[in-house]
């Protein structure tokens, strides 16, 4: 599968699509970027008068770029395989720096293992000056159904 096919297979739409560009993908990992639109609705409430991107959204962004794109690639590239859906099953993330509205972030993911349909990756997000914003591990099950 090429990058455009993977992006087209993502099941998300605005305002919950957090992938702009997929820069690299192979059987060992993925790299992509996203710029947080300052108009995203959650900035109105997180936090009042001081918008900052919620950690769950940073986690989701790492999951969409790292885990989901890679899971689609791996399942779609397997012999006779069909690109599946990826159901998030666990996350362990440390947060180092805030991400403000309008910031561009880059996510890199490395596969730890993909066995018995479970994909486990280490993921890292950096900001536009290359500082690590958050990192950790994320895993999910590659399924044929959208809702498990």
């Amino acid at each position: 599968m090429n990058k455009a096919e993977i992006l087209a297979h993502l099941p998300y739409e605005k305002p919950f699509l957090f992938v702009d560009e997929l820069e690299e993908i192979d059987e060992n990992g993925a790299k992509g970027s996203y710029t947080f639109d300052a108009g995203l609705d959650f900035y109105k409430g997180h936090f009042r008068d001081s918008p900052v991107t919620p950690g769950v959204i940073l986690t989701e962004t790492m999951a969409q770029i790292g885990l989901v794109c890679l899971g689609i690639y791996l399942s779609g590239s397997a012999q006779g395989g069909m690109p599946g859906h990826v159901m998030l099953t666990s996350t362990a993330i440390d947060f180092m720096k805030p991400v403000f509205p309008g910031e561009k972030v880059t996510v890199t993911a490395q596969k730890v293992y993909f066995r018995f349909k479970k994909l486990n990756c280490t993921v890292q997000m950096t900001n536009s000056v290359g500082e690590v914003v958050c990192k950790g591990t994320i895993s999910g099950m590659v399924t044929n159904k959208m809702n498990g």
Binding site: T89, Y113, R115, F116, K117, K118, G140, M141
Partner: protein
């Protein structure tokens, strides 16, 4: 390694993924990983990977599909160890 030792080792492996500590305490060959120990499908994969590492064996997809309870898992481990002459 006898059956009791295998159950004890498997008990150690499943403990961190188990959400029913009472079922874990009374673990037996009929204990079901999902129904009794409340292990989810993603952590079931981790159980299998930990079994592979602990016993230095390789589990394939067909075997994985059978490993849903303690008894089946023990018998697969026993067969593997026997085949490798490492019982």
């Amino acid at each position: 390694m006898d059956r009791e030792d295998l159950v004890a080792k498997l008990k150690e492996i499943v403990a961190p993924y188990t959400h029913d500590k009472d079922s874990l305490a009374t673990i037996s060959p009929s204990t079901d990983f999902i129904k009794d120990l409340k292990i989810n499908s993603a952590n079931l994969v981790d159980v299998i990977l930990d079994v592979e590492e602990e016993f230095d064996i390789e589990i394939d997809n067909m075997e994985m599909a059978r490993m849903l309870n303690v008894g089946e898992t023990i018998s697969i481990i026993e067969d593997k160890l026997k085949a490798l002459d490492r019982k």
